[in-house]
């Protein structure tokens, strides 16, 4: 080993070189220097970190293998759309979440609510993404995907099921209509909450629910998105 070509030992986050060099031993100064030289040679000659693309591929391979072993509880992907990127997630039961945007917050919520075994696995969402593409291209009026509705409970879930079953493409209804349809004519506010917390927007079409009188009302993706979706489905908006 030719010591004269060794670079200085890099400083590390808790002083590796100094720590190792001053440890009590009877090796003496020369030995300590020799070990520093070895450490420096390790750094100098190690294989560099794999390029990020290679690491991504290795991760994807490992995740695919884990999926084959049924170890992935929630698979997610991000898909582009005319209203911006959408994060879509599925369980073994079916589509569990559609979210506007790509925020990490969505994936964190899925881990907390469903299982920490959440992985980026676009293959598992190919069918959903294709159907969304067709919907946005105007070639699909109804989604044919299994849903996992476990993120909604109780009355909210009943309202969302009634919405999915009862309000088709290009149609609209009011919060009041849904309250009546679910046997709770006075529960207009609860219906509003159910729409606001819809975990599977677009596919479960809460954008088709308007205020009595025809004004838009709120929407998780923002009122412009709601208006865009309704116009896309051929609805003439009064406001």
């Amino acid at each position: 080993m030719t010591d004269d070509r060794l670079p200085p030992v890099p400083t590390t986050n808790d002083g590796a070189a100094a720590d190792d060099g001053t440890a009590a031993t009877d090796d003496g100064v020369t030995a300590v220097d020799g070990e520093r030289a070895v450490a420096a040679a390790l750094r100098r000659t190690a294989a560099p970190p794999a390029p990020p693309a290679d690491v991504s591929r290795l991760v994807a391979d490992a995740v695919a293998r884990a999926d084959a072993l049924d170890l992935v509880d929630v698979a997610y992907a991000v898909t582009d759309s005319p209203i911006g990127p959408l994060t879509v997630a599925t369980t073994e039961v079916g589509l569990v979440r559609v979210a506007f945007g790509t925020e990490e917050g969505v994936v964190d919520e899925l881990a907390a609510a469903l299982s920490p075994r959440v992985l980026f696995l676009p293959d598992r969402l190919d069918d959903v993404r294709r159907q969304l593409d067709e919907y946005f291209a105007g070639r699909r009026h109804a989604f044919d995907v299994r849903l996992d509705r476990r993120l909604s409970r109780g009355y909210r879930r009943r309202v969302l099921e009634a919405l999915t079953a009862g309000v088709g493409y290009g149609e609209t209804a009011t919060y009041k209509d849904l309250a009546v349809a679910t046997g709770n004519p006075g529960a207009v506010r609860a219906v509003g909450t159910a729409m606001a917390t819809n975990p599977i927007p677009i596919v479960v079409p809460c954008h088709r629910i308007l205020r009595t009188g025809g004004s838009l009302g709120n929407y998780g993706g923002g009122p412009e998105t709601k208006a865009w979706l309704l116009r896309h489905e051929g609805v003439r908006l009064l406001f």
């Binding site: 808790d14 040679a41 991760v59 994936v107």
Partner: protein, 156 residues
């Protein structure tokens, strides 16, 4: 009750280091296999985890075990044919680099893991201790013993 982050977040944060570590201690080919086995084993155990304060250390513990398992398996199924050494370095110009890394892979597993975590990945001793399942003092001692042994081997 711990709230574990999405497993994907762990991979995003630690996959590159985990891979580099495994390539350094096990060589490129075995390192890649160990990487996949580590991910699968970690994912299997993940929901049952009761602590989230050192997920990185936990991942490296699994990786360390995979390397040991693989070495044992290889020892049991040793084929008496000279195979080209599994090269974990790319710096062909570095004098003695090949000998040095061959020596690294001959170190006892704890020393090997400790030296690589310390001097390739710049990890603090507390974390190395966590990954090796030993005290911080023992982690320090393993790094030191590993370096001493490497110095002896490469200067012999």
């Amino acid at each position: 009750m711990v709230t574990l982050p999405p497993f994907q977040a762990l991979l995003d944060e630690h996959a590159a280091d985990l891979h580099r570590y495994l390539v350094a201690v096990a060589g490129p080919h075995d390192g890649a296999d160990c990487f996949q086995e580590t991910v699968v084993s970690a994912l299997r155990a993940y929901p049952g985890l009761r602590r989230d304060d050192n997920l990185r250390g936990w991942l490296f513990t699994i990786a360390h075990r995979k390397v040991i398992d693989r070495a044992r398996h290889a020892a049991r199924h040793a084929v008496p044919v000279a195979e080209p050494p599994d090269r974990g370095h790319l710096d062909a110009d570095a004098t003695g680099a090949e000998d040095l890394w061959a020596a690294v892979r001959r170190l006892p597993p704890k020393q090997r893991s400790a030296v690589v975590q310390r001097h390739l990945l710049d990890r603090p001793y507390a974390e190395i201790a966590e990954a090796l399942g030993c005290s911080e003092a023992a982690a320090r001692q393993n790094v030191r013993a590993g370096l001493v042994r490497l110095r002896e081997e490469v200067s012999a």
